[in-house]
């Protein structure tokens, strides 16, 4: 049974590490028929699958699309949504759109950043919490809004948010301790 040309290409060039996540990326590549203009879509897929865009993944994409790696990196670094560092266990995204801003989102970012000792845009040293900012998550009527691990939290004061995160981390600690004996 002869595989279609693109299939063969994907197989030949399959990632040597054997990491299964590359198989998911291969599927997306095939669906995109290895077209170079699908680069942005494929970067999205890669980030979804791997959580972030490592050099390894970028080079892999470049090879599969027959593009110079510099072009792939150039495109990826242009867009804000792509991230090159692995995020922490929890992602806390504070909306800094206008509606949230006029309702005090700046204080939410500042105080959260101080409380957990992590600058906006970065991850705590222990890798447990990433603090990001976003521009309008589309719930302006509920400003200020925070998206915590994908859940939208409405009308957040700095105190609300800090308490929420502390509680969650404490619960995890307790669970870990219990497990440890």
């Amino acid at each position: 049974m002869a595989a279609p040309a693109t299939d063969r290409r994907a197989q030949q060039d399959a990632h040597p590490s054997g990491d299964e996540r590359f198989a998911l990326l291969d599927k997306a590549l095939k669906r995109a028929r290895f077209e170079q203009d699908q680069l942005v879509e494929l970067l999205h897929t890669a980030q979804e699958v791997f959580g972030h865009l490592s050099d390894d993944v970028l080079i892999y994409l470049a090879r599969q699309l027959r593009l110079p790696p510099s072009r792939v990196l150039g495109v990826a670094s242009f867009y804000h949504l792509f991230t090159f560092e692995p995020p922490g266990d929890h992602i806390c995204t504070v909306c800094m759109g206008t509606a949230c801003y006029v309702k005090g989102a700046e204080d939410v970012v500042r105080e959260t950043s101080e409380a957990f000792d992590v600058p906006a845009g970065e991850t705590t040293d222990d890798g447990r919490l990433t603090l990001w900012t976003a521009r309008c998550v589309g719930s302006c009527g509920l400003a200020p809004v925070v998206v915590f691990d994908g859940t939208v939290l409405a009308k957040q004061t700095p105190q609300d948010l800090i308490a929420h995160v502390r509680e969650l981390l404490a619960a995890e600690d307790a669970a870990a301790e219990e497990e440890a004996g």
């Binding site: 680069l39 206008t98 509606a99 309702k103 400003a143």
Partner: protein, 544 residues
């Protein structure tokens, strides 16, 4: 090949299916209500309906945004042939009560009701949003039952030129911000000669504090598809792209699903509705770059490149995607088309003003009692929107200014309450219509701070291609930071105004050209606030 769908059949069947239920309970399941707990409320309603054995009497319908997000989660009950009732802040318990006490027990539950006689609802005129919050966006039948795809049927019987003339007669202007006459752009693509032409729906919605287009795409995806198809037919395009920002995964999912359904019913794809006209539609996602809303940058992004603008001319209608003629229309612009075609341009012109006919959708936010998504006739005054629809500022605070147009717009002071909200009037007042973000600010907000906020945004989003914008916005932001910190001088303010002019006049694309607007408009209307922050005395003023 699949049989051509009979729209009237679908509508009749749908009406019949609905008439079997004595009640329909609509639960807003859109982003904001979701965030305030619509999920558990929905499950509570569904569960009680089941427990009470009401499945054959009561239909539970998940809908898009009902508008008044700040009072969510919202639920609307519609008894067959009776008066509907809207409920606010519906949690699990209220959801259960709605089924057990309101539907079954015929109690009013007055304490949970939200009065649909509020100006928030009665002052609106919903065209683009006519189905939002009313239908299940995931069902084609729901859209068809409301008259969907009828415009496409009649358009396919017209010549493309005739369709362009209809839109010209309606006076429709682009809702993406600039208000360019839609028919004029269509005419250019129509006249362009090429082996392939493209239409692009701009759903990038970059204004940070606005979600009009997201609502249209999520809550009524088939309307967007019908609009795109009409635009493509009128202009002779054979392929359409929907460019949607990646921050809107639900909109992307809904559109993808709608495309599949429409294709299956031959409302898209090859030989649409049995005609000679074919249209292929593809979704492309943005990746968080404001400048990609600009049309030439958007095209670069679709081609898989860095989203940097280029010089115009050539305009995209001459040389666009892959070097071929391409037309870009905003999502809301496209969503107006089905109703204009179906109800006629005269109907459309009866709304709005002479030069800005029709309606505009706004994301109403900020310091207001009622916030959410509204659609109003163009030309309604700022005061009517802020005070009547928005209910004014809460807690007795004084309304100070309205921000429109986001980082490309400006702040209109409270004294302009009689200003009609349309393209020209807003521009005269130093702002722009923009895509529809409308944020009310009260006395607690400092205007230089607002200008700093937007300049921070613009310097961050500048693509860096041209120096005036890249360096100018950075420098303006630095000056604003100094001023806001109380460390600025009169000289700094002078420099800021000079830079505003330079950046406006010498930047390559709209981002740079309009980035100084928030500064200019706050300086025009709130200069005192800047002066009060400066650390030195004006030069040349003698002290007595």
């Amino acid at each position: 090949m699949a049989k051509v769908i009979d729209l009237d059949d679908v509508a009749v069947n749908e009406a019949e299916a609905r008439s079997r239920y004595r009640w329909r309970i609509k639960v807003c399941s859109s982003t904001a209500c979701d965030a305030s707990g619509a999920g558990p409320a929905y499950r509570a309603v569904e569960q009680r309906v089941e427990e009470q054995g009401l499945e054959h009497d009561v239909q539970v319908v998940p809908t898009g945004c009902m508008g008044l997000c700040s009072a969510g989660p919202l639920v609307r009950t519609e008894p067959r042939g009776g008066q509907p009732t809207l409920f606010q802040e519906v949690n699990e318990r209220v959801g259960a009560d709605i089924v057990e006490r309101h539907v079954k027990g015929r109690e009013d539950l007055a304490e949970h009701q939200l009065d649909e006689g509020l100006p928030f609802f009665t002052r609106q005129e919903r065209v683009v949003l006519s189905n939002a919050g009313r239908i299940d966006p995931e069902r084609l039948e729901d859209y068809v039952a409301e008259g969907g795809y009828r415009a496409l049927v009649s358009a396919l019987r017209m010549r493309p030129r005739g369709l362009i003339e209809t839109i010209e007669a309606s006076g429709l202007r682009g809702r993406g911000g600039a208000g360019y006459p839609t028919a004029k752009k269509w005419g250019m693509l129509h006249d362009a000669v090429a082996d392939e032409k493209y239409v692009v729906a701009n759903g990038d919605e970059g204004d940070p504090g606005a979600f009009m287009d997201r609502a249209v795409m999520e809550d009524d995806p088939h309307r967007v598809l019908e609009g795109v198809t009409l635009a493509a037919y009128a202009t002779g395009a054979s392929k359409a792209f929907l460019y949607v920002r990646a921050e809107y995964p639900r909109a992307i999912k809904r559109l993808e699903q709608a495309i599949r359904t429409a294709k299956r019913q031959r409302l898209l794809g090859r030989n649409i509705l049995g005609s000679d006209f074919s249209l292929d539609v593809e979704i492309r996602t943005g990746a968080g770059a404001f400048v990609c809303g600009e049309e030439t940058a958007l095209l670069a992004s679709i081609e898989g490149q860095r989203g940097q603008p280029r010089m115009r001319p050539p305009y995209p209608t001459e040389r666009g995607l892959y070097g071929r003629p391409t037309m870009i229309n905003n999502v809301e612009t496209l969503a107006n088309l089905p109703d204009i075609v179906r109800r006629g341009p005269e109907w459309f012109r009866r709304m709005g003003t002479e030069v800005s006919p029709g309606t505009k959708v706004f994301a109403l936010a900020g310091s207001l009692r009622h916030t959410g998504l509204i659609e109003v006739p163009m030309g309604l005054t700022l005061g009517e929107i802020i005070e009547e629809i928005g209910g004014g500022c809460p807690d007795g605070r004084a309304f100070k200014a309205a921000q429109t147009g986001g980082p490309s717009g400006g702040c209109v002071p409270a004294s302009f309450r009689d200003l009609p909200v349309d393209f020209e009037s807003l521009r005269q007042a130093g702002s722009i219509m923009g895509s529809g973000g409308l944020i009310a600010m009260d006395e607690g907000v400092s205007m230089p701070e607002v200008a700093r906020f937007y300049m921070d945004f613009s310097q961050d989003e500048s693509c860096g291609k041209c120096t005036p914008c890249r360096v100018g916005t950075l420098e303006m932001h630095r000056l604003l930071e100094r001023i806001c910190a109380g460390e600025g001088s009169h000289r700094d303010l002078e420099l800021l105004e000079q830079l505003s002019r330079t950046v406006r006049e010498t930047s390559l694309c709209g981002l740079g050209q309009s980035a100084p607007n928030p500064v200019a408009s706050t300086l025009e209307h709130f200069r005192d606030e800047y002066l009060a922050l400066l650390r030195d005395e004006p030069v040349g003023v003698a002290h007595g």
